[in-house]
Symmetry: C2
Subunit: 407 residues, 2 copies
């Protein structure tokens, strides 16, 4: 019996959802628990109803649509992602994974197949974390990583209380988070990076997700006249910052896996003829291996001491974020790789550079991800783009993996 | 016959002038051609009148007080500096040189001595260039380096026209700039740098003044996700800026004389998890040897090309300022050194890191400068400080040099 994806409906739904909350500039903004988010949720809810799914909503507003399997004793297979967006977003991030999940269930419905194992499509609340912190909130709550009562009291960037907004839009559900512990969790997502395109590869089999370390580094030297202060008598916070940036790049290159980025910097007094008194910079480091990430942090700490002594400046560092690396389930990753190979798609095992709901679900179930290419690696931007052929290839792999895990 | 400085009056006048235009924070602000500048000028004018000097004012407001010599055929000896200030300034910069000049004339008056050569004390307009560009304006005009009509039309940071403000405060004089070509020009000034203090030296004999090269460098790369963009695929404008800063320091250290400072920098979009798309930074380079300064500029231009190719970024540079180095008059420098030695003061031959009116007067007359220590090298700041003993030592050297050149 052939099971075929209704690709036209998948692509049409992506476009339809992408219109909701549209901005003047061509993007869309559906911040968590906003009116636009409610419209997106209502649309998703309607599409789940069209497929006669059993729809449940939990305390934090996560939406679950279940196609019941024939054996209620089996834990369900879960496919998930999110439909909230950043400000002026693209139309694929998150939405693709949720709507591809619906496409899988639609294919089963249309073929008249009832799997042995129930299949749940999940849309997790507030993955982006723009309006309310932290990000990946819905899946974090679902995986028991943070108390739901605490999260409902979070005050947003607009001064609103999360719980009040959740009730206002009608998505404060009655399902306790974590109620359904999945047999396995699958998330299909655009790469949001350039690797698949650069290697002309259709499918990314995501084996792990990088740990993230963010720190803010403050260097304090002595402001002095650029024309009268000999080099040997300088305590130049700007030079110390530059030396750090170049050394950190060297460290990252030598590591082979650590990414390190100084994205923001500020000098004071920031005048052309004054040696910088202070430099404040941020350091974003990521590595799929937590031990290597910790080693990088230790290396940077030692670098800061060396540079401070060398230039006669003081340096202090403040940890801003530290998420551990996640190693996805080996068997599930192998299953995805074999299925992809059997389907004849080119593939590449890879690491997720960004955070995803899958990293939270990995706390309570075997989890893995499937990536499709992002043109030029662009994401969180109206220019975010993945070709229809790549979108269909990803959904095809998802469907095949789901069949193998649920039948 | 003994000639003695009236040190009490010199120190008292420094304090009195320092009160004019005082700020709440302990500093003083007498921007060129402002009401506070007028008050300072009026005070100086009164003190010149007390010494029965022949006072003249030129088109650009430079004030000249002359003690007539016995031989009118001899070109006058000129002692000068300025009494305008930066915002929230110290009380020594410029004022010390002018008031020490008056102290020298007072000593001659009190001793009843008439020199063979006339002696002029000059206060040049707008040395600081804060309100009206360029700086060292009065001496530049006097030396014929810029057309006076053009300068009178300069619009200030507050929207005012220079010529109108100069008339308003009553200092638009009738002497053509450059009317008195000095036999020699002497300028006594605080060092505004740390060298004399660091070497426990009383007198700096200034043999030259650094050339100055300012450029603004704009680096354009590609903004991308810090978590998903491999190091090898980055075009990181921030890293390129840091590499430039460290290489420029290395170049300066190797040169032995070039100073190089990156005092200001700005990343865009300046976000913790985004690779910088652009970095805009300034580079201040100085060297007493113009050929070495030009070589440094060429070296930087080559560095920019190398770094641009290495990181796949584009870099463009814009020249903001280029003042040539000034080599002061060897005979005059030797005269100062011999006089200082004869008086038993410790001395050090040195380069001026900052710009001074003397560099403009050097275009039309033999010129040289005498420095006294600046505590901790601090200047352009209410904390600017030179001890009374050092102030007196400098004025003593000035008096002795003037005696040798004018009798």
């Amino acid at each position: 019996m052939t099971i075929a994806l209704d690709t036209a409906t998948l692509l049409a739904q992506l476009t339809q959802l992408g219109i909701i909350g549209h901005d003047v500039g061509g993007g869309r903004t559906r911040l968590a628990f906003s009116d636009a988010d409610k419209q997106g949720r209502d649309q998703l809810f309607a599409w789940m109803q069209e497929l006669s799914l059993d729809i449940k909503i939990d305390y934090i507003g996560n939406i679950f649509g279940t196609l019941a399997g024939s054996d209620p004793a089996l834990a369900p297979l879960m496919i998930g992602s999110h439909i909230d967006t950043v400000i002026n977003a693209g139309m694929y991030d998150g939405c693709y994974g949720v709507l591809a999940g619906l496409a899988v269930l639609r294919a089963l419905r249309q073929a008249g197949i009832v799997p042995r194992r129930s299949i749940v499509v999940a849309a997790f609340s507030n993955e982006e974390g723009v309006r309310y912190q932290p990000d990946m909130m819905g899946s974090l709550v679902y995986a028991g990583g943070i108390d739901v009562a605490q999260v409902l009291d979070v005050i947003g960037t607009d001064g609103t209380r999360l719980g009040a907004e959740l009730r206002r839009i009608g998505y404060a559900g009655d399902l306790p988070p974590g109620a359904m512990v999945p047999h396995a969790y699958l998330e299909l997502h655009i790469e949001q990076g350039p690797l698949l395109e650069a290697h002309a590869t259709q499918i990314g089999v995501v084996a792990d997700l990088q740990g993230i370390s963010w720190q803010q580094i403050t260097i304090t030297g002595v402001a002095n006249h650029a024309g009268t202060t000999p080099l040997a008598m300088r305590h130049d916070a700007g030079w110390a910052a530059a030396e750090l940036i170049t050394q950190v790049r060297r460290m990252a290159l030598a590591s082979g896996s650590t990414l390190a980025t100084v994205g923001s910097i500020q000098f004071s007094p920031n005048a052309i003829n004054v040696i910088p008194q202070t430099a404040i910079l941020t350091l974003d480091m990521r590595d799929p291996d937590d031990q290597k990430l910790s080693a990088a942090e230790a290396h940077v700490a030692a670098l800061l001491q060396t540079i401070a002594a060398q230039e006669g400046v003081t340096i202090r560092s403040q940890q801003l974020v530290r998420f551990p690396a996640v190693h996805f389930d080996d068997a599930l990753v192998a299953e995805i790789a074999q299925t992809t190979a059997a389907l004849g798609f080119s593939q590449r095992q890879m690491t997720s550079g960004a955070g995803h709901d899958a990293q939270m679900l990995a706390r309570i179930a075997p989890a893995a991800m499937i990536f499709v290419p992002s043109q030029a690696g662009i994401s969180h931007n109206p220019a975010e783009y993945t070709s229809d052929a790549d979108l269909i290839a990803g959904a095809t792999v998802l469907l095949a993996v789901v069949q193998r895990l649920s039948m």
